[in-house]
Assembly symmetry: C2
Homo-oligomer: 661 residues x 2
């Protein structure tokens, strides 16, 4: 029985068409649909017991799944695209993520042609398993401060990799702790007594015969992380080198090289080439944000339609909690954000292609902007997603706190995205630097490009007044854009003005950094708002689909405007009256979302397996399944718990013996 059937009938758009929009194309939709079902229907990928497993069991189970998935990929002769979807829908962090997502790309990006030939062919067959060993106990954000050394020994034509201090121990790399046979290790290159900074080296860690660490290598897991299940399926590791020797040709030499004589030379391949990879990785993170947030929103939306509380009239059913405006005002902006992040992720795919093409044509002019924009979007979307998942959990009341809701694990597994690939605050400070540079160059003839192009109209934006007069005016994309542009521009300019009061710019930047981060956030929100609006300028087929997206775009921007109205008002971009009209329009939009809410989350096309939540079940049959699941907890193996005779009974019987328990 479909307990949400009545909800589904209310939809004012074609869900099948929206599924295609969400997936990005018919092809992508069909692919996702096929692979997600393949995974969901295979009992080998069961995950509903994950949060109950102790670490060792959990980890062994992940090894089983990863190997099984690989076998499946080979047996079914899946393409690279299909294989990566299999890993995605298996939905369990594993060493394979780092092997495919970091080790292989690092070699592709930084290895010479010969190096690629040798190492990639081994990697593609998984004859070796690799990880990405950059972070150390003492250094994460500050990569240039890494302490591991790679000293060239011209006598033997080798590098000696060493961990000179405790804090130089590699710490965090995923897949390192128990699985990887190899790593790309980042270390300070020292040759001829000189330190040439941090470079990457391919280092074998474990014997390919018996998996024991090679001589001079100490390696292990760094221990439990946040949550049950969650990221504990991953063996984030610690690694120490005691003068480990590797051949010279295992330094990744695409960009710089060390000769047989120990001479350090920079190749003519520009360093900027490495930026391509970075844009690619960040694009993936933004897409992952939209997936994670959409999962949480799907769970909270369905459960909010199932859950009823208060408001029964004459003994009739109570009110679905999704009908409470407070619930809507917390939930619907997150639903809109999931779509917004999905579209900005799509746009980042375009940016990646654009950057790649320009790099090939040796056009580096857009790189600073691409760098700032991807850094900011990574930071913005991951922060919002982490907060959003947790809000979805709270929206489910007490039951959201149960692991069977899926939300605790989703949160715990997601949050490190705020930290890895750049701490979100550190990234926003980079955006702020770019903004300050842009402002300082205004009028210098250097034209702002891409997402910062609005700064060209700085004079207008500094003194424009919003033309909004009634709530509906806030539905006009031009009014929304103008307000967000003016706010971002004015906040940047205000920071620049304050900065100019300092004689020492660095000191000023440090003092004002909290304000600078706020300006950077304003800039990044503008990007997301504008990319959503641009998306709507495209042709979007399907009955009612575009209309729904227009509503969601409105929700996204007006929710942000309301949340940050202090920015808009302080900079005088809008009046208090206009702020209040925006809020009024926002309320009206929530009512438009309401009948479509369930179908808007159905459009994600997630299987119950992928969602992993009893509260989020497609059929809405929550209560009997919650009840059934409870009995599976190990504590329920026996009616009288282990420990009764030793602890509870003596307590009740007042027979506590003074001996140490």
């Amino acid at each position: 029985m479909d307990y949400l059937g009545a909800e589904r009938k209310k939809a004012e758009f074609d869900v099948e068409d929206m599924k295609i929009v969400w997936a990005g194309s018919i092809h992508a939709h069909q692919l996702s649909d096929r692979i997600s079902k393949l995974v969901a229907n295979d009992p080998a990928f069961r995950k509903d017991d994950r949060t109950m497993l102790a670490r060792k069991e959990l980890f062994k189970n992940t090894l089983r799944k990863a190997t099984y998935a690989w076998k499946l990929i080979n047996e079914l002769q899946l393409s690279e695209e299909e294989a990566s979807k299999v890993r995605f829908y298996v939905d369990e962090p594993a060493f394979t993520d780092l092997h495919w997502g970091m080790f292989v790309p690092a070699i592709k990006g930084q290895g010479t042609d010969e190096q690629q030939k040798k190492w990639l062919s081994l990697s593609y067959k998984m004859k070796i398993i690799g990880c990405y060993a950059q972070t150390e106990l003492g250094h994460g954000s500050n990569v240039q401060g890494l302490e591991t050394t790679a000293t060239f020994d011209p006598k033997t034509d080798e590098f000696i990799i060493d961990s000179p201090t405790l804090t130089s121990s590699k710490w965090w790399p995923g897949g390192l702790g128990k699985v990887s046979t190899h790593a790309v290790v980042y270390a300070r290159l020292i040759t001829g007594g000189q330190d040439y900074g941090v470079h990457g080296f391919i280092v074998q860690l474990r014997s390919l015969e018996d998996h024991n660490p090679l001589p001079g290598i100490t390696v292990g897991d760094i221990g439990m992380k946040f949550g049950n299940g969650a990221y504990n399926t991953m063996d984030n590791g610690v690694l120490r080198f005691d003068h480990v020797r590797i051949p010279r040709d295992q330094m990744l030499m695409r960009v710089s090289q060390v000769t047989r004589e120990g001479k350090f030379i920079e190749s003519d391949v520009p360093r900027q080439l490495l930026y391509g990879t970075m844009v690619y990785v960040r694009k993936t993170i933004v897409m992952d944000a939209s997936y994670a947030l959409s999962k949480a929103v799907c769970i909270a939306t369905r459960y909010s339609a199932v859950r009823r509380q208060f408001g029964s009239q004459n003994g009739g059913p109570e009110t679905q909690v999704i009908d409470y405006k407070t619930q809507q005002s917390r939930l619907f902006p997150l639903l809109a954000s999931a779509y917004a992040f999905r579209f900005v992720g799509e746009w980042l795919s375009w940016l990646y292609t654009d950057v790649t093409q320009r790099l090939q044509a040796k056009d580096y002019s857009t790189l600073p902007e691409a760098h700032a924009c991807t850094a900011g979007l990574k930071s913005l979307t991951t922060t919002a997603t982490a907060d959003g998942i947790e809000e979805c959990r709270k929206l489910c009341g007490g039951h959201g706190y149960l692991c069977t809701s899926g939300l605790p694990e989703l949160y715990a597994v997601y949050v490190p995205a705020c930290t890895y690939e750049g701490d979100n605050i550190v990234l926003m400070l980079q955006v702020a630097r770019f903004l300050m540079k842009t402002v300082s160059q205004l009028g210098s003839g250097k034209q702002p490009v891409g997402t910062i192009a609005y700064m060209k109209r700085i004079e207008h934006l500094m003194q424009s007044h919003s033309d909004v007069q009634k709530p509906q005016d806030w539905l006009k994309p031009s009014s929304v854009l103008e307000a967000f542009e003016a706010r971002a521009a004015r906040m940047s300019v205000a920071c620049a003005k304050n900065l100019s009061k300092f004689s020492n710019q660095e000191e000023g930047f440090a003092q004002l950094s909290a304000d600078l981060v706020e300006a950077a956030v304003a800039h990044c929100q503008l990007i997301v708002v504008s990319k959503f609006i641009e998306k709507l300028q495209q042709d979007i087929p399907g009955n009612g689909v575009k209309q729904q997206l227009e509503v969601l775009s409105g929700v996204y921007s007006l929710f942000l405007l309301h949340k940050h109205q202090g920015d808009f008002l302080a900079t005088g971009c809008i009046t208090p009256k206009q702020a209040s009209l925006a809020n009024e329009q926002l309320r009206a939009l929530y009512s438009k979302v309401r009948p479509n809410a369930i179908s808007l989350v159905d459009s994600f096309n997630y299987t119950d397996h992928f969602l992993g939540s009893i509260l989020g079940r497609y059929d809405g049959n929550v209560y009997p399944n919650l009840y059934e699941a409870a009995w599976k907890d190990p504590l329920n193996d026996s009616v009288v718990p282990d420990g009764y005779h030793d602890y509870i009974r003596p307590l009740l019987k007042q027979q506590l013996v003074p001996a140490k328990l």
Copy 2:
């Protein structure tokens, strides 16, 4: 060695005196100090392995600790106050929390004298163990909608307790799943065919001989909850009744009774008496918020002084991350909040005494205000604390994600405080109702009292202008109070105006509920701000102690003002210029906090055991201890992991067999 010694030398106040302020009195300080050390020094209370234990082991271990603590309490003949401190510092949720915190108070509050005599004497000796069984699978917030029935059978002078539907299953009560022998069960009282709503009943659940559930009772644990360790030490339970009979005198009959004949009568004891308990429980929750937040802040502050990243000059040490203004602007408001919540908790103790005295004098006039204010403060402080703990975790970068940081477990164990004892949004809506009532009665002669007394000056507050002209003006308590009062008053009045546009008030309240919650938050923030300021009007001994608290009070209010500047600006309470001056002053205050930060968290006087965090160690010796702890993970029991031969080796050797794994 004390790696934070240099930091401690910077303090501009007397830490020992601040410890007394934090504890509340010399007596309280000495008590906490003594008991926390007693617990910390007893290896039986070790908890550093907690996040690694599987559920059964974890739970058995909790039983062991709880029983051991009880033995200790008896052997050392500890007072009730001391005993509760022991439980507090053992720092592990257990059935005892519910026994002492809910079961006993429920009987005290709702039982007749005879009932108290009988059941409390059993409870005080723990000859029975009780829990509080209110929430059901289908009803939490809406207590009046509970479905469990207690039908009086005049033939046998018994109540028949029954779970007529699946959703009527009791679900969530702590201590119920595996331990409790008894419960206070809330059920609909039915007698003479009529439903008299929800009342409490004492029901025995398990045999006192062999702990088996009594006939007609199905009971078990509801399964894993958020996080490792955390609240999984608690057996939140599910409970079903199949026509279970209890004697009539097990209905809690202080306020209403059922006679031998089955007649329902309300006693002359006013229902309001129950409010006293509620104020008491909420006071405890607010105090717990300050403890939880202060633990997180202590960890993040110490680690931020240990952690260095970037900014090394000429090979010198890098910058302590606590010196970054972004770090300060995230951390110091939380430090200030911990103190703010501590003082508002202290004030709630006074309120509790006041309410109790008034109840005895049959003065119910302040009850609505006390009800609204405690509901709002519970909601405000628990939401801020949950968010704050997580922010502290992020402030620790990658290492905050490790369980050895203590922060993941602290978060996971804390967050349900946002949900239990009233969902935080539902509570804020109650505050909003009270505010709307107050506004509607303005001018009616009914004088607003207590925390809402500022509404008496509504005419002034509606049109006042802040007199702030320079940053330092924001240090004047009167300016701060005036701004917060004006903001709260104007937001309430704006809501009331919008409400009046609806012909149906209930409909209007529902439509505007998101705005109403914002007004309620503004009111509650004002309470915290004003109680902090009132605290500073007291005599506070100790070198520099008061000065530090003044700085923190400033940080707390100006941080809120900055965060919510949209409210202040939209209501015209302050100008954009004044908002910017506040921000400027806030920055200056951060610099004042900086040298005192470590000592301000030392003042919490937490043992390393209680903190449970390697990052937060008193001695700051973080790295060697992180490194050592890693090796204790079960995954490191063997160098080559379990699963190598089955999964990793076949993968590497390309020897995957097509058979199902």
